[in-house]
Symmetry: C2
Subunit: 348 residues, 2 copies
């Protein structure tokens, strides 16, 4: 390892001068050039560990996400990375597996490694604790989910609006018994998406909140949870004819169960929240509430970079909109006799 001292000796200057050359201090051009040449010749690259120790701040930012296998988060990660790329900070990914303990360990590592900052998609709204970071003065940005009481910047999705748009769409297409499979109770994302669903059905003639709640199932945002929730819905006395599923993984589970039961879209309406990757493979194509996952990461990184640079702006919350992408899985119910879709010709 060639150090700053080696370079200094080779260039006939003091280490302080070398440091100044690389950090924008004032150095006469002639000396600076000598230093640069010596550095290049020796293949000098500053030891980031020593830098971090002295500056009391590292040059990596941590991105803490709950599920690396979910394309939503990988796309988000890509957004973060692209934003960081333009600075000299590197991004490292920490996967918590929705496990609060694992998450806490990673946050401890972030502190111990003196990371420049952290972007956190919290594993739990109530149990994720960002206060240790704040106490150490480490900038943090919450993304997708805002942990309760955390005094941090946040970049969120307008989940409620997404839930409303989804439900309205299913109503318009003539589905009569619209179910909802949402995530765990207590997760802000699931609660909000559910709230959007309830908002719409509460006011819809023939539906109402009570009925909507009867058609609601809580699951765990995972494939298996989607399976069992869908199975439970199909086992009802009066099973639903459409379902709004509050995340992409659960949709996969739901689709499996539907296929096994022979109830395929669009006869049985399926609308999913969040892009299902490989969606092009699914027949019929899936109507989706699209999440701006990449932009979410991008925006979070921009916010964090500002804080790292030392801005003293008041805390911000940015909310990004979802958009409904209509495809074939919600074309209309199998049995239009009972419930003609809007604008459909009357049955013969």
């Amino acid at each position: 390892m060639t150090t700053i001292n080696d370079v200094a000796r080779a260039a006939g200057v003091s280490p302080a001068t070398v440091s100044r050359v690389f950090n924008g201090g004032r150095v006469t051009p002639e000396r600076a050039e000598r230093v640069r040449r010596a550095a290049a010749r020796l293949g000098f690259a500053p030891n980031r560990v020593a830098q971090s120790l002295r500056k009391q701040r590292g040059s990596v930012i941590g991105l803490v996400i709950p599920d690396i296998e979910n394309p939503f988060f990988t796309s988000l990660a890509r957004g973060v990375e692209d934003a960081a790329q333009r600075t000299n900070l590197s991004v490292v990914l920490c996967n918590t597996d929705e496990d609060v303990d694992k998450e806490r360990r990673y946050l401890d590592v972030a502190v111990a490694e003196q990371m420049a900052g952290v972007i956190v998609a919290a594993a739990s709204r109530t149990r994720t604790d960002l206060s240790a970071l704040a106490a150490r003065g480490m900038p943090a940005v919450a993304v997708d989910r805002r942990p309760r009481g955390a005094l941090v910047d946040a970049v969120l999705v307008d989940n409620r609006h997404g839930g409303e748009a989804a439900t309205e769409h299913l109503l318009e297409r003539g589905y009569r018994r619209i179910a909802c499979i949402t995530g765990p109770q207590g997760a802000s994302t699931s609660e909000e998406r559910l709230a959007g669903y309830l908002d719409v059905l509460r006011e819809a003639p023939g539906h109402g909140e009570e009925r909507a709640r009867a058609y609601t199932r809580y699951a765990d945002f995972r494939v298996e949870g989607g399976r069992s929730a869908m199975a439970a819905l199909l086992a009802m006395d009066e099973p639903p004819d459409a379902v709004f599923v509050a995340n992409n993984l659960m949709t996969v589970g739901a689709l499996q169960v539907l296929a096994e039961a022979g109830r395929t879209p669009p006869g049985f309406g399926v609308l999913t929240f969040g892009d299902v990757p490989w969606a092009p493979l699914v027949r019929p194509s899936l109507t989706t509430v699209e999440l701006p996952s990449y932009e979410l990461g991008r925006a979070a990184a921009d916010l964090l970079l500002e804080r790292v640079a030392g801005t003293s702006k008041p805390l911000q919350t940015v909310v990004l909109r979802t958009s409904l992408r209509v495809r074939d899985s919600t074309a209309g119910p199998a049995d239009p006799v009972l419930t003609p879709p809007l604008g459909a010709p009357a049955p013969a």
Copy 2:
């Protein structure tokens, strides 16, 4: 930040003693207890940056992968993480996007951050350069792909065997014109899988190497590459009736094109290398050469941890076997009159 000095003062001992308490030096039990209590009371956690600087070795290991959106690598990452979990090392993920420059930057970061070691799934066999790591004495393990000439431990997959098994299976099921979509030329994985395919067809009556090569297309391991390769194959004068696709993403592209052309499995045989996630959604289910992705990560981490611990074993290469998982997409050709599947009754 409470430091080792704060703890020392609070416990009435020297910093050296505090360090010894936490690193297994000899300290009288009574003092050790005093130190531990003081540390707990002050919420002391050693500053990893300072540790790294002094020890000349950090406590994170870098996992450098080419495509974080590919479930193969996320599963591999999980294997690495689980193995590291049992030590006090943390894993950070670096996504290179198959981009050699980005990869080089990450490797530089690994050196500058004095990481304990790196596990690399190389972006390029010829252009990925691990020598800088070796020069700095940083342990490295190549996984899935071995960069040319790198003197490192490696954990690989028996791609050739997988390619053979796949091709044999398609032959046995009665397909007559078996194509292969493989990855980029020069990538060891694509070359080996192709080699397995050629091995089998070279000896197969009615096939032979020349014909097999005519049915071979090189693509880029991505969805779009799979699309265009499949389209090119279908446009041939005598299009294939089955395809062996050398990775999961390209299979997605190929399936799209096949669906659009109305040529669906198993009438058109499709066999994919590597688990397609969401595979349960695809009808018919896909016959697959399964890759031991998790175990790959696990084994690579174990190897790396040994090196980090300072073993002086000679370099190792571990090769893990693939296994053929037969499902419905290779049930037999659409037109068994021409080519009765083995054991099928003669057509009436």
